[in-house]
């Protein structure tokens, strides 16, 4: 876990891609869940943030 945070601080590609992937996954789950309308409302922002982050961090060094 500490490796993950160290990687984030040092702008390593792996941990940042992981974070972006989690955001995209979270956004998709929020979009399709049947429990709360507000989660659905904010799903697009979360997915968009994850996707844009993924595009940017995929250019970071390994």
């Amino acid at each position: 876990m500490s490796n993950f945070f160290t990687g984030l601080l040092r702008l390593k590609r792996g941990p940042w891609e992981m974070l972006a992937t989690i955001l995209i996954g979270l956004g998709v789950v929020m979009l399709m869940q049947p429990f709360a309308l507000w989660l659905y409302t904010y799903s697009f922002v979360v997915t968009l943030a994850g996707t844009v982050m993924f595009i940017i961090v995929s250019h970071f060094k390994e």
Partner: protein
């Protein structure tokens, strides 16, 4: 002495053309070859995407000849606050979850069985793969006949096992059964695809790993959970992502089967989007809807590419 092919080709090239080609750098020649593809990509993919993004901020209607009115983020706000679209998303989620669940379960089991060497192995693989090769429109049509309560084979098979009257239930007309009817058809059609990916994963596991496990007296069950599953997992993930992206965009099969009904219980997002764009002609609103779906699919595709690279590295 015989001239080589390139010497003869160079000699056959007219002097004027040869001089022109010699004047171009390798980079320029590469650009000449790539340019038509880039141009087509820009014209067919990138330009419509940018145009759709632009339209998503307007109240444009494709069937009305009037000036565009800039509405900002209003289309996005309306879509993301609309409980009907939320229900469509849930219908899509139901379809996605259960199709992927059954396809992975049955696909992996079939791949595991096919991977064992037995007589007629190749024949069975071909038979299993057949549904995947059919057109979704054809599959939709003939399953519609299979689901007929009066003459459909499906109802008779269910009636045989449950003792119910074949005409006592209607797969496509019932609110409770219609979502499952589309899940069954998609599973029937696309399980072979998952099976093929799993089979590739199973065949990529070297035999010596199992031999080493045998030497260490690992049981078959232990070998399955500590060797087979971890080694096939990246392939399974790939299959899940691929089917997830495809089913998120599902349109043709469901339109043929239920048309989104009864009511709107099987109205997946892509069907709803088509209605907004080409039946209600709310082009600006539908553009915003399309962008929301696009970003979701693009995000999933990014994960898919990452998973694909991981599989390639193995």
């Amino acid at each position: 002495m015989t001239d080589s092919l390139d010497t003869r080709a160079a000699a056959a090239t007219p002097v004027r053309v040869a001089r022109e080609i010699r004047g171009l750098s390798d980079r320029a020649i590469a650009w000449i070859f790539v340019a038509p593809t880039i141009f087509l990509l820009l014209a067919i993919n990138i330009f419509p995407l940018i145009w759709t993004i632009r339209l998503s901020f307007t109240n444009f209607k494709a069937n009305r000849n009037r000036d565009l009115e800039w509405v900002g983020l209003r289309n996005y706000e309306r879509i993301l606050g609309d409980s009907d679209i939320w229900l469509n998303m849930q219908a899509t989620a139901h379809f996605l979850f259960w199709t992927i669940f059954f396809q992975v379960l049955i696909g992996f089991t079939l791949a595991y069985l096919i991977n064992k060497k037995f007589k007629g192995n190749d024949l069975w693989t071909t038979i299993i793969v057949l549904p995947m090769m059919l057109s979704p429109a054809v599959v939709g049509n003939f399953w519609k006949f299979l689901y007929q309560p009066q003459i459909g084979l499906f109802n008779y098979v269910i009636a045989f096992f449950t003792g119910k009257e074949p005409s006592s239930f209607e797969m496509l007309g019932s609110v409770n059964l219609a979502p499952w009817s589309i899940v069954i058809v998609d599973t029937w059609m696309w399980t072979p695809f998952v099976m093929l990916i799993c089979l590739a994963g199973l065949r990529s596991i070297p035999d010596y790993i199992y031999e080493a496990a045998e030497v260490d007296r690992a049981s078959k069950l232990r070998q399955f959970f500590t060797i087979t599953i971890p080694m096939v997992l990246p392939f399974l993930m790939l299959a899940v992502l691929f089917r997830g992206i495809e089913n998120f965009k599902m349109f043709d099969l469901v339109v043929q089967l239920t048309g989104g009904g009864p009511g709107s219980i099987t109205e997946l997002t892509s069907i709803n989007l088509k209605r907004e764009a080409f039946e209600k002609w709310r082009t600006g609103y539908a553009s915003a809807y399309a962008i929301i779906l696009f970003v979701t699919v693009f995000g999933l595709a990014s994960i898919y590419v990452k998973a694909l690279n991981k599989v390639k590295e193995r």
